[in-house]
């Protein structure tokens, strides 16, 4: 457990030593702030719901940027030799890294609370909807982080990992549309796996446990895939 925290802490340190995180955060708040002001000043309504679709789209760009270096940088610098020859197991290494990414994701979500706070000055908010929407945002982001982490284990080049992560997230996202247009028959089945479709209920204020279980198991699958991808490197 101490090794896991050591890795998590180191990842967070490295995150905030590198400019990428600051660029990603700046981009995130700039764009979301822009959309917020457009919505709020344009419609003059006190409603949090329009915000979330914007956040989700920004995640699509920001999260691969935040996860791309997680493992690939270790491989490029040769520091994977330190981690893989230490008593820490691959599970500890990967979960530690994922935890750091999720903490970052948590910061992104918490930072976005400023918009409802501003809105709350002008009128009453639908609080259950707001909190569940933020929960959906966090779960969606955490799931995307897991995909990004997995993509990062695939290449020693950050950029390749970033683009692969972006592509994977995009495809998982697009499953919703694909299901309707391309595959009329298996479509409904495919739609179950769309990461974006699962946020709809939560953002309506409906707490469906199957959605939450979906995200949690989705995360577990990709973390396990990442561990397996690294395990394979030992057999190289």
């Amino acid at each position: 457990m101490r090794r896991l925290w050591a890795i998590c802490r180191k990842e967070l340190q490295l995150y905030f030593f590198s400019p990428t995180v600051y660029v990603a955060f700046a981009f995130y708040f700039l764009v979301s702030g822009f959309f917020f002001s457009m919505d709020f000043l344009g419609n003059q309504t006190v409603d949090v719901r329009p915000l979330f679709s914007n956040f989700m789209v920004i995640y699509l760009f920001v999260i691969p940027l935040l996860t791309m270096r997680l493992v690939s940088d270790e491989m490029r610098q040769g520091t994977d030799e330190l981690l893989l020859t230490s008593p820490a197991s691959l599970t500890e290494i990967v979960v530690g890294k994922y935890l750091a990414a999720v903490i970052l994701q948590f910061l992104l979500v918490v930072g976005a609370l400023i918009y409802p706070f501003i809105l709350s000055r002008f009128g009453a908010l639908d609080l259950p909807v707001m909190w569940l929407s933020f929960l959906s945002l966090f779960l969606l982001g955490a799931a995307m982080m897991a995909v990004g982490l997995f993509a990062s284990t695939l290449s020693a080049h950050q950029m390749v990992a970033g683009i692969a992560g972006f592509a994977m997230i995009l495809i998982l996202w697009m499953l919703e549309w694909l299901s309707g247009s391309i595959l009329p028959k298996g479509g409904e089945w495919l739609q179950l796996f769309s990461i974006s479709a699962r946020t709809v209920n939560l953002q309506k204020g409906l707490l469906d446990w199957s959605d939450i279980i979906f995200y949690v198991s989705f995360i577990v699958v990709f973390v396990v895939l990442s561990i397996q991808a690294l395990e394979r490197k030992r057999l190289r």
């Binding site: 101490r2 610098q77 040769g78 994977d80 330190l82 030992r234």
Partner: protein, 423 residues
């Protein structure tokens, strides 16, 4: 302490490591020597558990790496070829991270980090960002990382590569100090390093261990035979014939002849004038360098002297050959190369027996042809071989242009030049 049992790492498209088998006892400093791409790093990576072997097993203190990886890794400190450092981190934070990662108890971490920093001369740099450290300090920090958890076994992959001579001396001194407490396995391709640090050498080539012993013993074991190099003024064919006739002599090899024997026109005028040669195919008397190997360990120098004196052929130089570690290394690694060209000989180090044709391609191994093959390398065969060698070194690269043959080739060129100077 460490047992590596028949470990192989197989790759589909490149050479891996094949049946490596050795063990190390506590307190040894073992040098792992081999040309580039011989499998040193792969073997070390398997020992440290970075790679899993395809076959075989690795035991540390009798515990298998495959079955109890955590327990075994705790006992190993590893410095890879490039020190595994995070350039953005500060020295202190980095060591703290490694201490956590390597299960150094929280209570003793601070003290231990202090000790290691002191020991490696990193004091005063704890607050520095690693990116700003020079190569030498990075290497020290890499070593600090490896010894932080007081491992029993220290595995160092080319610890002195890329350092300047002063730093190399410092790092070697450090390794010697570390060797007092830890068991050390270090890889290198720098030979003097092995002589100065290690008390045992493993030579690996083409993924196999070709030799194992103390640095001084190693040279001794290969010079069991009595070898003499001779520089004589005379006719090549006549000399070889005369010397082969001496009963104690097992083998005569022509190393170089100053005039190419196949083209008499190219022979220098002075030599042919002096001898007034009756053998036109020899191109007249010339300066010939020969290698003579005695049958058993008898000293043949006197016999050679009297025989040549009787012939009226003056000896210009006579040398008893003793192999340096460098020669041993070259011999072992290049012989192996030759075996690959024509896989007839055994792969064992001392059993390698290159044939006469093969020795022609490589000048140096020709000097160390096994006594067993002496019957095969008859006098005329070796003389034509040497003629080939002389022409090929003069014009272009010899047939085998592999990397490890390079030093041998330059050696041959140098001796050829030396001969020209003599003439």
């Amino acid at each position: 302490m460490l047992e590596v049992q028949k470990v192989s790492k197989l790759y589909t498209n490149r050479r891996g490591v094949d049946g490596i088998d050795f063990s190390m006892s506590r307190g040894e400093i073992v040098g792992f020597l081999g040309p580039n791409g011989a499998g040193k790093t792969t073997t070390m990576r398997m020992i440290t558990g970075y790679l899993n072997p395809t076959r075989g097993q690795i035991l540390v203190d009798g515990v298998s790496m495959a079955d109890h990886p955590k327990q075994v890794r705790r006992k190993i400190g590893y410095l890879p070829e490039t020190p595994p450092l995070y350039p953005e981190m500060r020295v202190r934070d980095y060591l703290k991270f490694v201490a956590d990662l390597r299960d150094v108890p929280a209570r003793s971490q601070k003290k231990r980090i202090g000790e290691v920093v002191e020991m490696l001369g990193l004091s005063g740099r704890e607050g520095q960002v690693i990116r700003g450290l020079s190569k030498g300090y990075r290497q020290r920090l890499g070593l600090a990382q490896a010894i932080l958890h007081e491992p029993d076994l220290l595995v160092l992959d080319e610890p002195t590569s890329g350092l300047d001579p002063k730093q190399i001396i410092e790092i070697r001194k450090l390794i010697r100090e570390l060797g007092e407490k830890h068991t050390v396995l270090l890889s290198t391709h720098i030979l003097p390093e092995v002589n100065s640090i290690c008390n045992r050498v493993l030579i690996i080539n083409q993924g196999k261990i070709v030799s194992d012993g103390r640095p001084d013993e190693l040279a001794g074991s290969l010079t069991e035979r009595f070898e003499v190099t001779l520089t004589v003024r005379g006719l090549q064919g006549e000399l070889v014939e005369a010397l082969s006739a001496i009963p104690e002599v097992a083998e005569v090899t022509v190393l170089t002849a100053s005039s190419a024997s196949e083209t008499p026109a190219a022979g220098d005028a002075q030599a042919s004038a002096a001898a007034g040669s009756p053998h036109p195919q020899d191109g007249g008397a010339s300066i010939v360098r020969l290698k003579v190997v005695s049958a058993d360990h008898t000293d043949v120098r006197e016999a050679l002297f009297f025989r040549l004196a009787a012939l009226g052929r003056p000896i210009l130089e006579m040398n008893k050959v003793s192999l340096s570690l460098e020669d041993v290394f070259l011999k072992l690694t290049t012989d192996e190369q030759v075996d690959l060209v024509e896989p007839s000989g055994e792969s064992g180090a001392d059993a390698a027996a290159p044939t006469a044709a093969e020795t022609a391609a490589l000048a140096r191994p020709a000097a160390s042809a096994d006594p067993a093959s002496s019957a095969a390398s008859t006098a005329p065969a070796s003389s034509t071989a040497s003629a080939d060698l002389a022409s090929s070194t003069a014009s272009a690269a010899p047939a085998s242009s592999t990397a490890s043959a390079d030093p041998a080739r330059t050696d041959a060129e140098e001796t050829a030049k030396g001969e020209d100077d003599h003439a």
